[in-house]
């Protein structure tokens, strides 16, 4: 029960190279996410009017979450078809719920 024999060297270098490439993309993703966050906060701090600010920050949030799902959580990779389908199902119901609560409980 030791991990010595799971020797790092035995992992073939091609695979390692791939992992590295992948990691680069992840870092770009992260930088973008931070950037989106900064923009969102800046938009609000700048005191932009609500009708412009709200859609804008919502779009930023959606894009950022897309990055999380597709890169950090690998939804872009193969073998994720069923999970992706079900996540989209969940998002669909989520949109219905949020839309309802925002509109038809208006009094």
């Amino acid at each position: 029960m030791n991990n010595e024999n799971m020797n790092i060297d035995k992992i073939n270098s091609f695979q390692k190279q791939q992992n590295k490439e992948e990691m680069k993309k992840q870092i770009i993703t992260f930088v973008l996410m931070i950037a989106f966050t900064v923009v969102a906060f800046a938009v609000v701090a700048s005191g932009l009017e609500a009708i412009y600010a709200v859609p804008l920050i919502l779009i930023l949030a959606v894009v950022q979450v897309g990055f999380q799902f597709y890169y950090f959580m690998h939804m872009k990779d193969e073998g994720h078809e069923v999970p992706a389908a079900l996540i989209y199902g969940g998002i669909w119901v989520a949109i219905l719920v949020a839309l309802t609560m925002a509109t038809i409980i208006w009094w």
Binding site: L86, W92, V93, V97, M101, I104, I105
Partner: protein
């Protein structure tokens, strides 16, 4: 029921076996047995309701008790009878149908069962310890549910929360099982319809139950911790509860009916000796129903005052569900057309389902016309509608499945004569009870009425309805007698007594604990039928005989459930006295502690060795 299969062991050993089992077949049996028990309780409550309504201004039970009765009847029937019995059949049959040895998460499966069971027990304890059962209707609308005295509604909240968590686990388990554990050659489009409906139902569970969970949390916080979600004085809004409840509630009715559709899609081809007509469109229709099912919930709220735009949208969306459901009805008819139909008790239930459910579905569409629903809503017309779909659809489906799969599950066949007798009693009673209720509703009888007044033209209808309910009760008793009789004296059968089509019939009855000695190779839809007509009459194995890996049984799910059960009781009573917080802490510690132990202890399961397998006869 299942004692028969484990005769030789002592009672203690059998009990321990069932407390610790992770075998999907035994869990399935337990779901069905527990669900049947709750069905009897719910049915008894229904009879009490009907006795109270046998004549005008009756005082058989008091007003408060009446409200408790309808609430418990609805809640018990939906959450603790119909849903679990269907999940039981999914557990018992679906893995066999896809040629799997097990489900993906045997441990979770057991946990799910115990959570459901203790949820039901908790709910029913409210009769004794709650200062009265919940009395705000199964829909528990706020603010009535906030105002309800005693602890009844608290028991409702915690009981449903427990069982809801269990159901959610079951749902995830089935989805993963179907995605990953199909036998070689069992592509998606070769899966039997019951497996398909299990799959889609599980997806519905996955997306619908969280809404209920949230609703229950809000109600719990308002009742127990002084929050203000539904408290108008502090800016709360009671309509939120209605939305959350129905976002869950409408998909829930399809959670009930889709498995029943699956059951009929197995039985009708089997006894017509014909393959299911329009298989692809059946699968497609199932998805369409599920999809539309999430977009119609506000049809329960047409009179809430959401405004004409919302009412119009939801009205049209609701009616649209008639289309995929119609596809199904006509496909079943077309399956029988040109077939060679055998009518036995399983098929009788399936045949009775078609016109009965069609009536219920059609009144559903009538309810969907919002401007007409202003008249129907909260009247006996609605009660008639949903009993037509639920009893005429779901309960008939459950009885059909019982007659169809009983031989597979227990190796004995139910008595035909008793089967037919119970069918006719129940069938006649059902139409007597509920058909007349359409008119009662239109004649001005609202639902949830403890008494109806004299001289309002409602007497005869209610009397007929009550008589019908007793016939249904007799029918149910005959089914019980049949099951007991069969368990003791029933005829033993082979693996394939019906000359049926799908994989579960390719293995012995009852199936061995590993289901398939060798995983079968599936060559098309209705694999067993294919082998019977074009092959050697039995499945070709897809692998040599090898060691079979099996999960270990475990008592942890039971202990964890007990922990949550104790904590729930603590939550309920801490409102009166802080000492009960101890129960919360203790219960949570027990549950979470068990969880930690379970995750820290490696459990690799065990193997049934090849040699032992080979020794066993086919």
């Amino acid at each position: 029921m299942s004692i028969a299969t484990t005769q030789k062991k002592g009672f203690g050993a059998v009990l321990w076996d069932y407390l610790t089992t992770v075998d999907h077949k035994k869990i399935g049996n337990m779901y069905i047995a527990a669900g049947a028990f709750f069905f009897l309780i719910g049915g008894l409550e229904a009879l009490i309701i009907r006795i109270q309504l046998i004549k005008p201004e009756n005082d058989f039970i008091s007003a408060g008790l009446y409200n408790e009765m309808i609430t418990m009847h609805g809640t018990t029937m939906i959450f603790f009878a119909a849903t679990p019995i269907l999940i039981g059949f999914m557990n018992a049959i679906m893995p066999l149908q896809i040629g799997a040895r097990d489900v993906a998460f045997p441990f979770l499966n057991s946990l799910g069962f115990w959570l459901f069971f203790f949820g039901g027990v908790l709910l029913n304890l409210s009769w004794i310890f709650g200062g009265g059962a919940p009395d705000a209707g199964w829909t528990s609308y706020a603010p009535l549910s906030l105002q309800s005295p005693g602890h009844g509604v608290d028991f409702y909240v915690m009981g449903l929360q427990l069982s809801g968590a269990g159901t959610l686990m079951g749902g995830i388990n089935f989805i993963v099982t179907i995605v990953t554990m199909r036998a070689p050659g069992m592509t998606y489009m070769r899966m039997p319809l019951f497996t398909w409906t299990t799959f889609v139902t599980s997806i519905l569970i996955l997306f619908a139950f969280p809404a209920l969970t949230v609703g229950l949390f809000l109600l719990m916080f308002d009742r127990m911790f002084g929050s203000a979600f539904f408290d108008v004085a502090l800016g709360g809004n009671a309509i939120i509860w209605q939305h959350l409840f129905w976002i869950f509630g409408h998909p829930e009715v399809y959670i009930l009916i889709l498995p029943a559709f699956g059951i009929f899609s197995e039985i009708i081809p089997a006894f017509s000796k014909k393959r299911l007509f329009g298989y692809t469109s059946m699968v497609f229709a199932t998805f369409l129903i599920a999809f539309l099912g999430f977009m119609v919930w506000a049809h329960h709220m047409f009179t809430v005052g959401l405004g004409p735009v919302a009412n119009a949208i939801f009205a049209v969306a609701t009616m649209a569900i008639a289309v995929p459901t119609g596809i199904k009805i006509f496909n079943w008819l077309a399956t029988m057309w040109g077939g060679s139909i055998t009518i036995n008790s399983a098929m009788l239930w399936a045949l009775a389902f078609i016109p009965s459910f069609t009536i219920g579905g059609m009144t559903g569409v009538m309810l969907g016309a919002a401007s007409a629903d202003y008249q129907y809503h909260d009247t006996y017309f609605v009660v008639a509608h949903f009993h037509y779909v639920i009893v005429g659809g779901v309960v008939f489906g459950i009885f059909a499945a019982t007659h169809y799969w009983y031989p597979k599950m227990f190796g004995r066949i139910l008595h035909e004569g008793l089967g037919k007798l119970s069918f006719w009693l129940f069938f006649i009673g059902f139409h007597l009870t509920f058909f007349i209720q359409h008119f009662l509703g239109l004649m001005g009888m609202p639902r949830r009425y403890w008494v109806f007044l004299e001289n309002q033209g409602l007497d005869t209808g209610n009397l007929i309805s009550t008589i019908g309910a007793f016939l249904m009760g007799l029918g149910t008793i005959v089914v019980l007698i049949n099951v007991v009789y069969t368990a003791v004296k029933g005829k033993k059968v082979s693996g394939d007594p019906w000359d049926a089509r799908t994989l579960e019939w390719a293995i012995p009855s009852p199936p061995p604990e590993y289901n398939f000695k060798q995983l079968p190779l599936v060559r098309g839809l209705d694999p067993l039928w294919i082998e019977k007509t074009e092959g050697k009459g039995k499945m070709t194995p897809a692998e040599p005989v090898v060691d079979i890996h099996m999960p270990n049984g475990s008592i942890y799910p039971f202990i964890m459930t007990i922990g949550f059960f104790i904590a729930s009781i603590g939550f309920i009573f801490q409102v009166d006295n802080n000492v009960w917080l101890l129960a919360v802490y203790f219960g949570m510690a027990l549950a979470l502690g068990t969880m930690v132990v379970r995750s820290l202890k490696d459990d690799h399961g065990y193997h049934i060795h090849k040699e032992d397998l080979e020794r066993e006869a086919d």
